[in-house]
């Protein structure tokens, strides 16, 4: 009994110390970030100090976020034993890995597959979600709340739990080893999130705008397509982007529902890249392939980021 109590006591003490130290370390940074807006342009000693702290925090965050990718780029440009010597600055610019990856026909076709699957998933999910969320946000019907909760509940199932059932479904539909198997399963898994986000957005659009359109003679479809869709751009871009990233990165379904090399998507293709022998893991080509498939995502986010921000400010208009 005493043992247990001492055990608990010490553990509590450790925990308290841990929380205390963490807070003590984190708080100044936290404070620096929070109050940075107030001090912009301030030229006093403490103002400068806190500004420096703020930029240190920013640099840390950027470093933590960027470093893995940076290291992948570095590694992808190295070959042979060079790969196994740690280095933080570029030491060679050898495109051999990229050549190796891009000359494999199966890898190129897997990129095409990925683009096709992710794009169709986004289009299908957004179309279904926009129409569904209009109904869920604007049409009064019995059981609406229950339906919304059910939709949310769907997203609670782990992928592995529905895998076998979905496999049966895919087989029954006769789409095994086709992109449609992936599009179907990805759409199923993206829709709950997409519907929820769009429903909350749609609910926040002023009712009067819809009513004005109804008085102007707009049918529900015209209201959705001509009035709501332009206002929902920021939400569509955000959810579409997330759906795209989800579909692009997905591994389990892609591995299960495809069998031939030419039907694979990129994550599976990378995982199944094989070296010269069973014992060799081809780090170089893997890194090169990872960089190749990450670049489109980064480009998409950078392009649409501006749109998202522009859209959000445009939404701040009253009426």
């Amino acid at each position: 009994m005493i043992d247990l109590l001492t055990f608990l006591f010490w553990n509590l003490l450790y925990f308290a110390a841990f929380v205390g130290i963490t807070l003590a370390v984190v708080f100044p940074f936290y404070y620096a970030v929070l109050s940075s807006a107030d001090r912009s342009g301030e030229r006093t000693a403490s103002g400068v100090f806190w500004n420096i702290v703020f930029w240190i925090v920013v640099a840390l965050i950027v470093l933590i976020a960027i470093f893995p990718f940076y290291y992948a780029v570095l590694s992808s440009l190295e070959t042979g034993t060079q790969l196994f010597i740690p280095n933080y600055l570029p030491q060679s610019l050898n495109p051999a890995n990229y050549e190796a990856v891009l000359t494999r026909p199966s890898f190129v076709s897997s990129i095409v597959n990925s683009v096709f699957v992710a794009t169709v998933t986004v289009v299908a999910a957004l179309f279904l979600a926009v129409t569904a969320s209009y109904a869920l946000a604007r049409v009064r019907f019995r059981g609406r709340g229950l339906l919304l909760l059910t939709i949310l509940a769907v997203s609670m199932f782990p992928q592995i739990a529905v895998l076998s059932g979905l496999f049966e479904l895919v087989n029954w539909l006769g789409i095994y080893n086709t992109p449609w198997a992936l599009i179907l399963s990805y759409t199923i898994f993206t829709l709950p999130f997409t519907v929820w986000v769009l429903t909350t957005f749609m609910r926040d659009l002023p009712v009067e705008i819809e009513e004005a359109a109804i008085v102007d003679g707009a049918s529900p479809w015209v209201v959705i397509s001509k009035v709501f869709l332009p206002l929902l751009w920021p939400a569509l871009v955000t959810t579409g982007l997330l759906a795209f990233i989800g579909a692009w990165n997905e591994f389990l379904f892609a591995l299960t529902f495809t069998i031939t090399e030419t039907r694979r998507t990129v994550p599976v293709a990378i995982a199944l890249l094989s070296g010269a022998s069973q014992q060799e893991i081809p780090w170089g080509p893997i890194m090169a392939a990872s960089v190749i498939v990450t670049v489109p995502l980064i480009a998409l986010v950078l392009i649409f980021q501006r749109k998202i921000v522009a859209g959000l400010t445009a939404g701040g208009v009253k009426g």
Binding site: E208, E211, V215, A314, G319
Partner: protein, 341 residues
């Protein structure tokens, strides 16, 4: 252009009765104002007429044709909303032309009508702008313009001035009055909780209370001959003075009403009531004396010019003959002549 008839119209949301049977006729070309406190159902009634809400029971006729089940865009109505409800992503021109576009009008026709409406409201120079680049008053004018372009039989206004500041409110009120003057045969229905807007704009006012019509009449009728204590208290600013108890019994009624401008200060000895001035308000052109005559709330007495009577003075008051409003315990006017005084 339409004569609107409501026959025993009701509206219920689940178990809640919002509109409890309304019979009303709005004449062609009339400016009708629905007024009442919040929650009285005035906006709901407007929405029933617009078709944005369905009527639970009863009938609604436009020019003798039953329109209960006609969709809003086919009723020949145009509506101006409190929050403007402009389409934020469209230019002013597109906002105004949207209805005609959906109706499949020709480009030239559309352009002509939008330009004409914009000219009427002096917003021609704003046609290329987006709503977010306009001020509140300009937005509301665009909303009115959008309604004009629809060339409606019935114009519906749902508290259109509530979001504007005081100066703009007066200006826009004038513009709406002018619009009514220019579009003589378009029926207009206007919802407001502000009795000043009701008095200044209306041909006839419909006072609503708890989903029922309390009184319908011209502003003068409502002001001079209110049909209930409620109407008497609602119409007019400052509020009509009400006296109860002994003060009312002396005149053979339960509630005695007198407007502030119908009370004169008289030399001592000729008074009906006497009391101490507890507060004064100076409005420049007029001043209000708050006189405590011992009946709960102080009587408000309106005097022209600047306040000359200091607080604390005891004044003698006499209501003008024939200006007393007498109501029974149910709040209805007492018709019998005044017995003895």
């Amino acid at each position: 252009m339409a004569n609107i008839q409501l026959r025993n119209v009701t509206k219920t949301y689940g178990a809640v009765n919002v509109i409890k049977g309304i019979d009303l006729e709005i004449k062609r070309g009339e400016f009708m104002v629905f007024v009442g406190p919040s929650g009285c159902g005035k906006s709901t009634l407007l929405r029933l007429i617009s078709g944005l809400e369905s009527i639970t029971t009863g009938d609604l006729y436009f020019d003798g044709e039953r329109v209960n089940n006609v969709i809003p865009s086919k009723r020949g109505i145009a509506m101006v909303f409190q929050s403007y409800a402009l389409y934020p992503h469209m230019t002013v021109y597109d906002n105004m032309a949207f209805g005609m576009k959906l109706g499949g009008s020709s480009k030239a026709d559309m352009e002509a009508r939008v330009r004409r409406a914009a000219g009427m409201l002096q917003i021609d120079h704003l046609l290329d702008r987006l709503p977010r680049q306009l001020s509140g008053g300009q937005r509301q004018r665009v909303a009115i313009g959008r309604a004009i372009v629809r060339d409606p039989r019935v114009f519906l206004f749902d508290e259109p001035l509530s979001n504007l500041d005081a100066a703009l409110r007066v200006q826009t009120r004038l513009e709406i009055a002018k619009l009514h003057h220019d579009m003589r045969d378009v029926t207009m229905i206007y919802v407001t909780h502000d009795q000043v807007e009701a008095m200044t704009l209306a041909d006839r006012i419909c006072v609503l209370r708890d989903g029922k019509v309390e009184q319908v009449g011209t502003p003068t009728e409502l002001y001079d001959r209110p049909n209930s204590v409620f109407v008497a208290g609602f119409i007019g600013s400052p509020k009509m003075n009400f006296l109860e108890g002994n003060f009312a019994e002396a005149h053979g009624c339960a509630t005695l009403g007198i407007r502030s401008e119908h009370i004169d200060i008289v030399p001592e000895g000729q008074e009906m009531w006497q009391g101490r001035v507890v507060h004064t308000e100076d409005l420049g052109s007029d001043n209000y004396l708050f006189v405590d005559v011992g009946s709960g709330e102080p009587l408000i007495v309106r005097q022209p010019g600047k306040a000359t009577i200091p607080e604390g003075t005891v004044v003698s008051l006499l209501p003008r003959p024939g200006m007393l409003h007498r109501f029974d315990a149910a709040g209805r006017p007492v018709q019998m002549p005044i017995a003895a005084q």
